[in-house]
């Protein structure tokens, strides 16, 4: 045999986790780069909604907000919600790619290798968060192009806004990964991840919660998206944040933890299920 190789160096603990997760991340980014169509499709929804609500419904919507608000005021109102919707939409892609990935034989190969157990999922999560950031930047650029301006946000506030977006992206991604793992195929994953794009529609993204029917207001106000949207608005536009700040952080941490443990347990016991599925 011509190939006599040095035995693999045993690596343990954290360095193994970081190293293998980085490798898995590279694999996922390679997938995303080779096949950008899904990412772009999912990006289209928030951009279309942005243009739709600004240019087609914009006058009516701003009139409805009262106080002599014009279309540019509605752009400012709309953008924070759409940035969070962008994250929700991008994570649907993560659910789909995790579900697709799990049907691939290479996952079984990974399970027979002496690599860090969690690296497959961590690679997906970090990759998805990076994609979320990219998408948010792209949608944000479109928003700026059509007239969105922050009302004198400080550097610290920009940083906090960025941190919030990353936190929400991480939380939603872990949930999406769980949805992907629990779905037998890509279609099912895309269906079960629908709430991630549906919830923003019933949040304060498009109209203020006050403008909704009374019985619905508590639902809209306390679902995960509204506090995050209100916090982002406060940071970028100087509106009042109030209790929304800690609500947003609590929601994110809780969803991240839930998604993490759910995904981990699905992945750990997943092989038998996966094998029977074929």
């Amino acid at each position: 045999m011509s190939t006599q190789l040095a035995p693999a160096r045993p690596a343990t603990g954290l360095s193994l986790a970081v190293r293998d997760s980085t490798t898995m991340l590279r694999r996922n980014l390679l997938h995303a780069r080779r096949y950008p169509s899904m990412t772009l499709n999912l990006l289209l929804t928030p951009v279309m909604l942005l243009l739709l609500f600004v240019y087609i419904f914009g006058d009516t919507m701003s009139a409805g907000m009262g106080g002599g608000a014009d279309r540019s005021a509605y752009v400012a109102y709309l953008v924070p919600g759409l940035l969070l919707m962008t994250i929700g939409s991008t994570t649907i892609g993560s659910a789909v790619s995790v579900a697709t990935d799990m049907t691939e034989g290479i996952i079984a190969r990974f399970r027979t290798m002496a690599i860090h157990r969690g690296s497959v999922l961590i690679g997906h999560v970090v990759g998805s968060v990076l994609q979320c950031v990219m998408s948010v930047i792209l949608v944000g650029a479109v928003a700026v192009a059509i007239g969105f301006r922050s009302a004198d946000a400080t550097a610290l506030e920009w940083l906090a806004a960025f941190g919030l977006l990353v936190l929400v992206a991480t939380a939603l991604t872990w949930i999406a990964v769980g949805m992907g793992l629990s779905s037998p195929n890509a279609e099912a994953a895309s269906n079960s991840a629908m709430p991630l794009i549906f919830l923003p529609l019933i949040s304060s993204a498009f109209v203020p919660v006050d403008a909704m029917p009374g019985w619905f207001q508590p639902i809209a106000e306390y679902q995960p998206f509204t506090p995050a949207i209100e916090t982002l608005r406060g940071l970028l536009l100087g509106t009042e944040i109030g209790h929304n700040g800690w609500l947003a952080v609590t929601w994110s941490l809780a969803l991240a933890a839930l998604g993490y443990f759910w995904s981990k347990s699905l992945f750990d016991k997943g092989f038998d299920k996966g094998a029977n599925r074929r």
Partner: protein, 340 residues
């Protein structure tokens, strides 16, 4: 009915070569369905072991257990000297697995697949690239290296699959039905690859439904049937388990078949195929006497084939649930295919 039972642990005799894989009493069931019903194995290091059985016999489950993919309900196993349940990570570091279903990443190129493996084995960058180039060359994939693996043919995918398994130089390689679905040429290429592996001192555990394949490649063969090992031994030992061969006469005319059958009382009939099986050792003398007799009786068979006992006979004799009598060695009494 275990026909030849081997010692299952390496602790017993001092003279045995070290076992690469040993297992005792492996059991696994899914719900009510018992897939493995007590499997004992001992595979000496540096040998080729074939687990032979029809679909649903439990071959894949055995590989999945021994390669740490799933855990057995009961029983013990050591792979490369490490206990499966106590130290699966050490087992994983010593093995390479090529599953029944392609385990390549179709979205990236063959070369990227190989580099991915090198990274996961924590090889330094330069070494990883070197190993990748060598293995791609060795498996005749250099030309296709920059194409997405999803565009590869079945044989190419399987070669890439094995090349990926070899990154990191595993000492024990599991190959689950390595040639299923390959055309004859690709199958022979695969056989040569497996032979080369063994020359390199690697222990190979392969599963197959093809007796010819086990005969060609394996030092020892275990016949798996209904979750148990029905027999184990070298191909020669297994062939000795069943009585001799036969001569098969095939007719196209049912009347001729009928007449020959009534005349030839020692023959067994296969009415569906319009054939007769006459027990025979395949010698020239016996052959001549049968031909003479046919001539004298004015019977003309449309086809005559000499059938020496092969692993097929052993296989059918061992795996037919009803039990096959000695003068019907080739009764195609296949067990039902169980959905996996």
């Amino acid at each position: 009915m275990p026909v030849s039972v081997m010692p299952t642990t390496s602790r017993g005799g001092g003279l045995q070569p070290p076992a690469a894989v040993s297992a005792a009493g492996l059991r696994k069931s899914y719900g009510d369905k018992t897939v493995l019903d007590g499997i004992d194995l001992r595979i000496p290091a540096g040998s080729v072991f074939a687990l032979l059985g029809p679909n649903g016999a439990g071959k894949t489950t055995t590989v999945q257990i021994l390669s740490t993919l799933i855990s057995a309900d009961s029983g013990q196993a050591q792979v490369a000297g490490h206990d499966l349940s106590a130290d699966p990570q050490a087992v994983r570091a010593a093995i390479g697995v090529t599953g029944q279903f392609s385990a390549v990443d179709g979205l990236i190129t063959g070369e990227e697949n190989m580099l991915l493996m090198a990274d996961l084995h924590h090889l330094p960058k330069r070494e990883g690239r070197q190993v990748t180039a060598e293995l791609l060359e060795r498996f005749d994939l250099t030309e296709a290296a920059r194409k997405p693996a999803s565009t590869y043919s079945g044989g190419m995918k399987r070669r890439l699959d094995i090349a990926m398994t070899l990154v990191g130089s595993p000492r024990i390689i599991f190959l689950d039905e390595p040639t299923t679905g390959l055309d004859p040429r690709a199958r022979h290429t695969m056989w040569q690859i497996i032979r080369d592996l063994v020359t390199g001192g690697v222990t190979v555990f392969l599963t197959t439904q093809y007796l010819e394949e086990a005969d060609e490649l394996a030092d020892r063969i275990a016949v798996l049937h209904d979750g148990r090992i029905a027999a184990e031994g070298s191909a020669e030992e297994l062939k000795r388990l069943i009585p001799g061969g036969h001569i098969r006469l095939r007719f196209t005319d049912p009347a001729a078949h009928q007449r020959a059958a009534t005349e030839l009382t020692e023959a067994t009939r296969d009415d569906e195929a319009l054939a007769l099986h006459i027990p025979s050792d395949g010698s020239q003398r016996e052959l001549r006497s049968i031909l003479d007799w046919l001539e004298a009786a004015g019977i003309e068979a449309d086809e005559l084939t000499v059938h020496t006992p092969d692993l097929d006979d052993v296989f059918f004799a061992l795996t037919s649930s009803a039990g096959t009598s000695a003068n019907q060695p080739n009764q195609p009494n296949q067990p039902k295919e169980n959905a996996r």
